[in-house]
Symmetry: C2
DNA sequence: AGCATACTATAGTGACCACTAAAGATTGAT
DNA sequence: ATCAATCTTTAGTGGTCACTATAGTATGCT
């Protein structure tokens, strides 16, 4: 989408029965490494060692480190995505829905001891510009989704409330990544939920 | 404190009238670069070019890149620090004080077009472990200061409220760093303030 | 003047970075 | 069986990383 002319699906489908390493598994491993360490701290050497392959195999399969990162982010979203269609169902109370979204996201950010925070939010801080652009794009997608939910019932507050939710999630992700214990992250998420209630009822 | 056996003051005082580059200015330049680009994205080459010196001069003056980063953070705190002793004056209303703290911090995070967010908060995401440790330490200092203010009047909520404030600031810093326009960052800070009110009065 | 000190600049260190040229190996199709 | 395609491996590319050994130079002290 940003750096590749060939999509994730196209690449996967090209895989034949030939002797080859498992591309899907490669993306899963890369996702874990990128999530745990961040884009900048994961080198090609670390990736190829984790996959037990050589650099050319990695490049033949994914094109570049940035490409692989984007595949990994897509996998992250596909696997870890919250059931947002249920959480942000149109008929739900705005406040309840947003509170649950923040709570569920916080749970996601601390459920692993090693892969902390939101991979997208953390990717936005990478020193590498491509990694930042990719992450920013998926963050924007999320914000739009949240905004479109809010706009149905609170159109006048949709923009600023969407910003508020996204920024809150960025803070929770940062805290989780920095090592704040799960219980305290969830406590902050709970306080954020109380804040959301007061913002919507006012 | 973490990586040096020689303090900032000691180094500065050692400066004689000999032909030498301005150490304080070097720290100021490094601070701007680190703040704008992040620890990882600023190499020795970039620093020495900006200061118009050679690497050995930089190492003679500051010891290491991590040392220089710590000096830069100290300078950042000294120069950009909010008047926290006034904002968090003991006699002030807890809610008003915390709201102003968040507002002033948000203003700080977006006042420059290039140096966005909080240098300490952003440093906590560096790929370099030393930079993370240094940043985490100063973040912890800030949290303690906030907690000690809250504990005077709301001792039962001090810990979780302090976490809430710090996480909110981390979110605002991340948003500012990612390029969210100043007006929207300030708007989110304002909403956070409303949330703080409801948390304290409840 | 002579000397030790403290900074400087030149020029490099090995290690790592993302990435690839070239050739071998395995496959499916003919 | 042969060939083309596609993967693999080996072995590297040039570049940048943080950092430094060595030697030159300007300074203050005696």
């Amino acid at each position: 989408m940003f750096t590749s002319n060939i999509s994730y699906q196209e690449r996967i489908e090209k895989q034949t029965s030939r002797r080859t390493f498992d591309r899907s598994k490669g993306i899963a491993v890369a996702k874990s490494l990128f999530h745990e360490c961040g884009f900048d701290a994961v080198g090609i050497a670390k990736l190829t060692q984790a996959l037990n392959i050589n650099p050319p195999s990695l490049y033949a399969a994914y094109g570049s480190k940035a490409n692989l990162f984007e595949f990994a982010i897509e996998a992250y979203i596909a696997e870890n995505n919250l059931p947002v269609n249920e959480i942000l169902a149109p008929e739900r109370d705005t406040s309840d829905a947003l509170k649950e979204l923040v709570h569920q996201a916080a749970c996601l950010y601390v459920r692993s001891e090693t892969e902390r925070g939101c991979m997208v939010a953390e990717g936005m801080r990478a020193a590498d510009q491509k990694a930042r652009m990719i992450s920013n794009y998926y963050c924007k997608l999320s914000r739009e989704f949240i905004k479109n939910f809010i706009v149905q019932k609170q159109p006048d507050k949709a923009e600023e409330l969407a910003d508020y939710i996204v920024v809150s999630l960025q803070g929770l992700s940062a805290a989780a990544f920095a090592g704040l214990p799960a219980s305290r992250v969830l406590s902050v998420a709970n306080l954020t939920g109380i804040g959301i209630s007061s913002l919507i009822s006012s």
